[in-house]
């Protein structure tokens, strides 16, 4: 038994023991927190061992009927197991005191957390279709229990749970259909058999398999147009669960696309990947646009997950496109960029959700328009969120900057390689990535600047207090990973390239592209920046008169001290962007002006309401939901409650069937 096998065994054993203990031990939260963190650590070890080359394979035919459980861990799966484990470590440590403070100690919720982590770690290790589907469903059910954990807080949680339950199962059905069609053309349902059969499928069958699984897997990753559940379910879940869902679970959708499309089906044709690229680009822009308009801190983070998964799909689509035209080094570069973005996104999204949870814990609010002024009272949380925001907004020295740089390099060098399709797709993809990067900067400036800086906009924000130590420690773990990824991406690049199946980037301090000329050194850049700050500060200190800084009143135009109501809010910050993208987001504005009774010229009150509905949801989901409701209404008229009528239905159906048989036979 090698290290990877031991690690996976430990994941399952510790996870199940933790779940059992959670059901019986009175002091549940500490046990579950520690147990989840240890489970995560075991998953990190197993994943790292698999990435280092120690893959393993095990078949347990007795556990499941028909084909049994088959597990194997190759580098691709290992990367996702390690990422899931890393998120679980931070979330587990964080959960210890978070759960107590928000009264989430109910038994069901506590049992579901370790089971959720185990299921997520097993999905990338599944080696046949049955195992994959069982673990996938276990993951969906455990996360559903966790999403509705705070159902007492209001009807929104229940609604989010319903959306999630329906959409995750529709996605499951779609994956199921795709894989069943695939298995029908292979001797058995093991991945090895599918891999062998994948090359021999006719293009039509392969296309059906790919599109069906793509729909299912992208719905899990929150890709447009199947994203509607994500900004509902992720914010309503407790924050450590939001982190697990947004940073670890969505990745498994990406894993599914890579596993089925690249590995099992063997690459396929160019149009598959153009479809993936287009879906990714649309999701990236649409997700960040929604986030830029949002004034709910956790919803904003959820929408940013759609954006980041979109960027990952852009990379995967480009990789598939290059591979189908024979450019294997470029394909490896694009896939490396995509997978590095998965790792980076997991780190900063964990950090951001945990920091948002810390804000929620301290103020009871996630509404940016009611926050602000948290810097003096919650310095550590503010620093953590600031670091996460920097990492998320593709600015140096940040985590996403490195992966997006690699992604842009892949797209740019793909222009001469891919023919006319690439010549049209690549510039548009670059423009989409750039617009996404720009909007992400605006979004995270809004989230950090309005949410944490300036003056508190509500009493709750003014009375906030710093979170307990374990919550800060959970954030600290994620923050350290963020910093390491930002400064020394070469530390994880070998692992990511092992998973991507090709080495396209080399170097230690400086990343160099192996096919094209291109180099970037995040570490030197950061050191240069720090040195410049020190030099400038030194010069200014030497040049300026040696008097202490003096505090002074803000310039208030002579109108007395400024109140928090005069500050810009998140809504007003986003207003210019909302106007610019008016045609895309179509906000609903409502202005009520009431006048004085004496004169129409005197305004008594102005009421302004703005809502930015999800337009895709409105156009795509509402007609379907309305049709189902109408169908139900029509059905109700048939069911009048009269037994005679129901017997009559039965009689007519039998008659009809007999006539049909008589005519056709």
């Amino acid at each position: 038994m090698n290290l990877a096998a031991t690690g996976m065994a430990a994941v399952v054993a510790i996870g199940l023991v933790t779940a059992l203990l959670a059901a019986v031990v009175p002091a549940r939260s500490a046990v579950v927190g520690v147990g989840t963190a240890v489970t995560g650590a075991a998953a990190v070890v197993a994943g790292a061992a698999a990435l280092a080359g120690g893959s393993f394979s095990v078949v347990l035919p007795e556990v499941l009927p028909l084909s049994g459980v088959a597990l194997t861990l190759d580098p691709l799966g290992g990367l996702f197991v390690a990422v899931t484990g890393g998120v679980a470590v931070a979330a587990g440590i964080y959960a210890m005191s978070y759960v107590d403070s928000l009264d989430l100690r109910t038994r069901g919720v506590q049992v579901a957390l370790p089971l959720f982590v185990v299921a997520m770690a097993l999905v990338p290790a599944a080696a046949n279709v049955s195992t994959l589907l069982v673990c996938w469903e276990l993951m969906a059910l455990a996360s559903l229990v966790l999403v509705v954990a705070e159902h007492r807080r209001g009807p929104r949680v229940a609604s989010a749970g319903r959306w999630y339950a329906v959409m995750t199962h529709l996605g499951f059905v779609s994956v199921l259909i795709g894989l069943m069609v695939f298995v029908a053309h292979a001797p058995d349902d093991s991945f090895a058999a599918l891999r062998e059969a994948g090359g021999r499928l006719s293009p039509a069958v392969a296309g059906v398999v790919f599109v069906a699984t793509l729909a299912g897997f992208t719905s899990k990753a929150g890709i447009v147009p199947l994203h509607a559940w994500l900004p509902r379910a992720h914010p309503e879940a407790p924050s450590h669960v939001s982190a697990l869902m947004s940073a670890a679970m969505v990745n498994l959708g990406v894993y599914g696309v890579v596993r089925v499309g690249v590995d099992l089906l063997g690459g396929g044709t160019a149009w598959w990947w153009l479809l993936v690229l287009a879906l990714g680009a649309v999701s990236a822009v649409y997700g960040i646009l929604q986030a830029a308009m949002s004034s709910d801190l956790k919803r904003l983070l959820g929408q940013s997950t759609t954006e980041n998964m979109g960027l990952v799909l852009v990379g995967i689509g480009a990789a598939g496109l290059f591979a189908s035209s024979g450019e294997h080094t470029l394909a490896a570069l694009a896939l490396t960029a995509a997978l590095l973005h998965v790792v980076g996104h997991a780190a900063f999204k964990t950090l951001l959700f945990l920091a948002a949870g810390s804000v929620l814990h301290a103020t009871g609010s996630r509404d940016l328009d009611a926050l602000g002024g948290l810097r003096p009272v919650m310095p550590v949380t503010t620093a953590a969120f600031g670091l996460g925001a920097l990492a998320a907004s593709a600015l140096p020295p940040g985590t996403a900057f490195v992966s997006e740089w690699l992604l842009l390099q892949a797209l740019i060098h793909g222009l001469p390689a891919g023919g006319v399709a690439a010549a049209i797709a690549m510039p548009v993809a670059v423009a989409a990535v750039a617009l996404t990067a720009g909007l992400a900067v605006a979004t995270f400036v809004k989230a950090f600047g309005v949410g944490f800086l300036a003056k508190p906009r509500s009493g709750a924000a003014a009375d906030a207090h710093e979170s307990p130590f374990t919550m800060l420690a959970g954030m600290g773990v994620a923050a350290v990973v963020c910093v390491v990824l930002a400064l020394w991406p070469a530390g994880v690049l070998p692992a990511v390239q092992a998973a991507a199946g090709g080495a396209a980037v080399s170097g230690d301090v400086t990343l160099r592209l192996s096919q094209a000329t291109g180099a970037l050194s995040p570490l030197l850049l950061t050191l240069g920046l720090l040195a410049a700050v020190v030099v400038v500060a030194g010069v200014v200190r030497a040049a300026v008169a040696r008097r202490a800084r003096r505090e002074a009143r803000l310039w208030d135009c002579g109108g007395g001290p400024m109140s928090a109501r005069m500050e810009y809010t998140a809504t007003s910050f986003a207003e210019p962007l909302q106007r610019v993208f008016d045609d895309v987001v179509q906000p609903e504005l409502d202005v009520d002006v009431s006048h004085h009774q004496e004169s129409r010229y005197l305004v008594q009150a102005v009421e302004y309401r703005r809502k930015v509905p999800d337009r895709i949801e409105r156009r795509l989901y509402e007609p379907v939901l309305n049709a189902i409701t109408a169908w139900g209404g029509a059905g109700r008229r048939l069911a009048s409650g009269s037994v005679h009528r129901y017997l009559g239905y039965g009689f007519y159906v039998v008659c009809g069937a007999l006539i049909l048989l008589a005519v056709t036979r």
Binding site: A292, G372, R375, P376, L395, P396, L408, Q409, L411, I412, L415, P416, A423, M426, V430, A431, V433, A434, L435, A437, G438, V441, A442, V445, K446, G449, L453, A454, K455, T510, T517, G518, A519, L520, L525, G528, L529, A532, V533, V535, V536, A537, V540, A543, V544, A545, A548, R550, A552, L554, W555, M562, M566, E567, Y568, S572, F573, P576, L577, V580
Partner: protein, 315 residues
């Protein structure tokens, strides 16, 4: 790290820091003369900076470190760009940072620091400026990156040294449709990024039109001096980039004193001419309404996309 790179890395930041206030002075002087005023002289910005540096440091009550560090970060990002970009010499002191994407992202980082400082003050002006600046930044980004794409296709690299050297060796490329389209797109971007007319008016203090000035309204004394110096440096850096991407002639390719001297003079002349042209253009244009700016930027990103298409289909 070559000798030429080190020379460039030392000469360039000194030149940019010393010269950029003079560039702003020159541009103000050109405007003044065209408008029939005498003008304050080219050295006036330096006199202003000296005055501001002697004043007391004042921090508005209720602001955090973000407000205090933003001017430092703003100057530092521009300084790093001044060190690494090939302005005077073709080789860079820190080659792995002299990447067009990295340079653009560094300049954006400075803008973000200032926007956060604007929000940190908690005044309506600060928030308004930050919001507008970030909107413009978000819309500029696609044009900028696609224009970079168009420029890098022919070289096969986004490394600035590589792009500049390749233009030096093949001057005919400058008048290709790709270069011309990309140049026009980049000029619009630079006008937007440096807050010049018609996107923003650097000399306005009218709340309806302010963008950059609204963010920095609370700064005073030495902090304000840093912000002013940084915005002058950003202007010079952007104009220098434009000059050397499309007309790199005169840039030093070897580390002899004469070559470096010619490189310095060439940069001063090119940036001075571009600045003069920009100032002269500003006399004849009115500032656009804020919500007309996206149309301008959409037009420029279309040009950039055309440039990429041209680089593929006309190659």
């Amino acid at each position: 790290m070559s000798a030429l790179g080190v020379v460039g890395g030392v000469v360039q930041p000194v030149l940019i820091v010393a010269g950029s206030p003079l560039l702003v002075g020159l541009m103000r002087q050109v405007r003044a003369r065209l408008e029939g005023r005498a003008g304050a002289g080219v050295a006036q910005p330096w006199r202003d900076l000296r005055k501001l540096l002697r004043k007391e440091r004042i921090t508005p009550r209720g602001t955090s470190e973000v407000f205090r560090f933003a001017p430092l970060v703003l100057v530092a990002t521009t300084l790093v760009v001044a060190v690494v970009v090939p302005f005077v010499a073709t080789e860079s002191a820190v080659d792995p940072v002299a990447d067009l994407f990295a340079v653009v992202a560094l300049l954006a980082l400075g803008a973000v620091a200032l926007a956060l400082a604007g929000l940190d003050t908690g005044t309506a002006f600060g928030g308004m400026g930050a919001s507008r600046e970030m909107t413009i930044l978000a819309l500029v980004e696609p044009t900028l990156l696609v224009a970079i794409f168009a420029l890098s296709v022919r070289v096969g690299s986004t490394n600035l040294g590589a792009i500049v050297s390749s233009t030096l060796h093949d001057p005919a490329r400058v008048i290709s449709p790709v270069s011309l389209l990309a140049a026009v797109a980049l000029i619009v971007v630079i006008v937007a990024e440096t807050g010049r007319i018609p996107v923003d008016n650097p000399s306005t203090h009218l709340e309806l039109t302010m963008v950059h000035e609204a963010m920095v309204l609370e700064y005073a004394g030495p902090d304000l001096a840093l912000v002013e110096l940084a915005s002058a440096m950003r202007l010079s850096v952007f104009l220098g980039l434009l000059a050397n991407l499309f007309a790199p002639w005169g840039i030093a390719t070897e580390a002899t004193p004469l070559a470096v001297l010619i490189g310095v003079l060439a940069l001063v002349v090119k940036v001075g001419v571009l600045g003069g042209l920009l100032a002269a253009g500003e006399v004849f244009v009115a500032k656009l309404r804020l919500f007309r700016v996206p149309e301008l930027l959409a037009g420029s990103s279309l040009l950039a996309l055309l440039a990429v298409a041209a680089s593929f289909f006309l190659a």
